[in-house]
Assembly symmetry: C2
Homo-oligomer: 341 residues x 2
């Protein structure tokens, strides 16, 4: 007979795994009635607390799982490289799964990794993920989890991030300092935290510096592709021919926009200045080269693994666990697509 | 007590795993004396033939290993994406390791994957790999192996390739047809088969078309980087100011060369035509855009997994195994860096 899991108890009672876990640990935010129900059922089914964690501890798989939205992407492939380099140093192997920005796929892949008994999970969320039950369930089963780059602030685990809001503020401020008067923003989809934070940084830089925030200058992109860059550059010229600067959420889109401006004879930076985000290798090579925010992918990967490794060891030694959020530094790289000030 | 392995027998006798495997299977190319020694030792140690394969068959890990020279690389990240997409369809997970073009690392990683009891291995060789014992040893242990892109012709396993020689011939022929009279070649390092084949295709196109092959026009690159592209473009202008065309082994180097030509006021394609190889996304975006050979990375990844999967199933069902080499089609993509003919 297979050992009873938290999941089975949760399903039997129609409550979440997190609640079951909390009830068994006597958390104050679970009602007395629920606690009683859970504990009774656990006893009836002969549930062994932390069975999964115990298995993990005694039988490490020395394998971790990585779920990433997209592999063919300069930033994420740099992160992957950082993770596997650091994992190898500690004798760990890395299983890589791509969520294709889909919440459903991400959930499925987390289950798959769990069934493989990985020692821990690193994740950067899909754009489609707006519900975090799957992550809380994972943690309720005592599986170490570290989020990086595209994180959920409300999930209580270790994280590696950059300060997107501050970086976007710096990018927008640079456009203001270069003399731009009407600054547009190509933002990412509505859900991801980094797309929200970059938008907020843009807005804040404007209002802090006596610029009017005009919502009609903010374009919401979906797949953040080169083609969206060319398309929205065209839309922008049609809608607002007085715009003289844009802060664009990611380099690939910015490169698309510059290609469109070049094609139409709109001069960058003379007619319009452009600042991107991420510092892809490509950005230094295009003409004009792109001013952008450098996002340290390789370092982010290494740091994420280090945090996960530390958590695996802490749990193994039954030491007290504290979650940590590491914020990595970003830099503004000034190139030809903006005027010097 | 751990079961005795082929490796232990090999090490005890100071011979290769392949020889041990062949001796046990009574291959004619192993001496009688060796066969006797191997069989006696196997009996003494109570060696169970194909113990590893048996374990594999009865207890599939549903995990495969992938060893790739470099993750942050448009072509290889497309391959990875193809592999994990196809693997997921069949319920397999993929462990990814990066060899950093090092033979030593590649060997170590293969051992690691073996110890993880992966169901099979996909590999694209490191530039440093000139000895294939580690691969033959893997196969001697009945672990399915499929090579792709950077392969070794003498290893007898399934492969997914492109016809590098033919593609390079096409690229060079295009330069000849565009009117180039003196055509240089930036080639890759000496060991990798694809770098050899591309060079041979270049040479053959010249001699087939009444062009003199001049070895001084062939530059041997080491790390195939953007910086090497800029450096060797400078060297070429210094050494041979009569050159009016170059076929460059990979797009990243070609993009470096074009950047250097742009900087020095050498006009592409008016003064010098450039053809690359791989069709990175970047190549369509630079100015002038790059004529190149399209190398189907995503498809190569999918095909490699399909071959591996088929081999896993064939072995599991004890059916006869036949190795297959699949050659994928490449296309010449004509853009602005060459003259139309």
């Amino acid at each position: 007979m297979k050992p009873v899991t938290l999941k089975q108890i949760a399903e039997t009672l129609g409550i979440s795994i997190t609640t079951v876990s909390k009830a068994l640990k006597d958390y104050p935010d679970v009602s007395k009635k629920t606690k009683r129900l859970v504990k009774e059922l656990a006893e009836t089914l002969n549930y062994k607390p932390n069975a999964f964690a115990v298995t993990l501890r005694t039988k490490e798989s020395k394998t971790i799982g990585l779920i990433i939205p997209e592999v063919v992407h300069h930033f994420f492939s740099s992160v992957i490289k950082g993770i596997i380099a650091q994992a190898e140093k500690k004798g760990y192997l890395v299983i890589i799964l791509q969520s294709n920005e889909s919440y459903e796929l991400e959930k499925k892949q987390l289950d798959l990794l769990l069934s493989k008994r990985v020692d821990g999970v690193l994740i950067s969320l899909a754009n489609g993920t707006g519900d975090f039950k799957h992550l809380n369930d994972l943690m309720a089963q005592d599986v170490p989890l570290v989020m990086f780059d595209k994180i959920a602030k409300i999930v209580n685990c270790s994280k590696v991030i950059i300060n997107d809001r501050k970086a976007a503020y710096t990018a927008t401020k640079h456009l203001i300092n270069s003399g731009c008067k009407r600054i547009a923003h190509f933002r990412g989809p509505l859900l991801p935290q980094n797309s929200i934070d970059r938008f907020l940084g843009y807005k804040e830089a404007l209002t802090d510096n006596a610029h009017t925030y005009d919502p009609s200058l903010v374009y919401i992109l979906e797949d953040m592709s080169f083609d969206e860059g060319t398309y929205f550059a065209g839309e922008l010229l049609k809608d607002h021919n007085d715009v003289d600067g844009i802060f664009i959420n990611t380099d690939l889109v910015a490169i698309g926009a510059i290609a469109e401006f070049n094609k139409r004879g709109v001069k960058v930076p003379e007619d319009i200045s452009v600042v991107g985000f991420s510092n892809w290798f490509m950005s230094s090579v295009i003409n004009p080269s792109l001013t952008t925010i450098d996002q340290p992918g390789y370092k982010m990967g290494k740091t994420a693994f280090k945090l996960l490794y530390k958590e695996i060891k802490t749990r193994k030694n039954n030491q007290t666990l504290t979650y940590k959020t590491v914020e990595l530094k970003t830099d503004l790289i000034v190139r030809e697509s903006t005027n010097l000030y």
